[in-house]
Amino acid sequence: MPNRPKRSFRLRPDLPGGRALFKGLAFASPFLIGFAVFFAWPILASGYYSLTDFSLFQPPKFVGLANYQRMLIDAKFWKSLYNTLFLTVTGVPLSLAIALAGAHVLNLPVRGQPLFRALVYLPTIIPVVAGGFLWRWLLNAQYGFVNEILRWFSIPQPNWLVEPAWGSISVLLVSLWTVGGTMLIYLAALKDVPQDLYEAAAIDGAGPWRRFVYVTWPTISSVTLFQIVVLLIAYLQIFTQPFVLAKDPGIGSSTSSGPGDSMLTYSVYLFQNAFLFLKMGYASAMAWMLLVVTLAVTLVLLWSSRFWVHNGRARD
């Protein structure tokens, strides 16, 4: 603010400005410590580790960019990247579409909607481990309900958790089950669309589809941007769902990654490298790649938003 008188702040409790700074820092001190210990230092340390060869039992040894070079020729790395990108590219648009359609349904004038909204959100409360085992049961080829329902409609029934081609899709299915949070955010956004815009559009003779395209979609576009960012970050990091779905009941070993490695996501492979193969330098390099990719994707999205996100009310 150009016209506000400037205050001078000094870290001296006897001066008014110094007191303010002292108080501000004192109240913020838990996070200042937490940020230093759990965020700032670890990011830098992980950057350094990514240039070293080390494990729990061996101090870091500097190896330059060797870990990054190894990624290029590591077939499992590419497989995990492919699986993660597949889940992201399918999961984000599907989540948005299901959430938006579902939000419209939950916005209908039907009695009992508060209960229905609560029920749709329920799957996100269920612990992912419990949800994962539940879905293994539902997707069971012999006793599971999913194939039973497909059988009613004479749709071919895949062997979900056994065929490599269906492994990733099983993970996608389990993730989409928890889309309720996204749906409720869209519902809140729908309720914020000014009613007079719909009335004006109706007077102009716009049908439901045109009202959606010209009124609803532009008005909620800033919420859509938020949802895309959150979903993208979540799908790029997806870990527990594939990790639980892939658990091998026979051996019980944590290295199993689904039929044909179809559930080996980036985060699962990162975890395996860090804590099972004890290649912590390599895992740190993977973590840094993930950070760079997440940052780049987010920035591109925010930059693109100027072309499709409308601030405030929809314009004609």
Binding site: A20, P42, A45, S46, L122, P127, G181, M280
Partner: protein, 280 residues
Amino acid sequence: MAAPVISLQRGVNWVAQRAVTILLVAVFVFPFVVMLTTAFKPTDDIFSAPPELWPRTWTLEQFMLAVNQFPFFRYLANTLLISGLSVAGTLLASPLVAYSLAKLEWPGRNLLFVTVLATMMLPPQVTLIPVYMLWNGLGATNSYLPLVVPAFLGTPFFIFMIRQFLLAVPDELIEAARIDGASELRICWTIVLPIARPALITSAVFQFVWTWTDFLNPLIYLNDSDKYTLSIGLYSFFGQHGVQWGPLMAACVLFTLPAVVIYIAAQRYFVGGIAAGAVK
């Protein structure tokens, strides 16, 4: 007059709206219903092809098996302890930081706010290994410290949410208390935070459910099976004696129940919290 046509159309609309709502809800709830009914079936009923939804006889057999086959109550106590401590930490630390960001004016405040937002976006994988090495260096792996201490240093998401709520608290209230000579900590605790109760409850229930359901952190830090949480206990239980679907589903029900009870009790806070995240 076309009145009958209109009322017919209304009737069709009325039915269609309800049908589509029920279909939507059914898709999301059906898996949960299968978990419940499977847990109450006798073992023979569970393995029927084609599968049947409703148990022919209701029995607690699977629950007894589950509780006897793995130390459910020990894991329950462990999980409750970790979740309770995390909630305490969140309620102690995050409001203070939020107060500093919303109601105190000091240089660097905006920088700190941006920092809080940035850390919310950070993939946890990036800090995972150095933080693990840190706890390892302190000899604290295989203890609950790595799972609990971070909450006492403030969680970015909750700091952000409480801060947004505090912005709406009128400054006059705080000014008046300052003139009366109340200390800042006293103002924060006795005047501002009681007003922010909804945001605090929302933070507490979210923190509880997150810790309750957390998988990655207990997986990395806990080695002794005595110290396992329900997440890790259930994970390692799977396949130990072959796959026993009955006890497994019963254990899943028992594991899920507390989270669902909290969710039902605090449902309006959940919905408020979810929507708060999307506010520009």
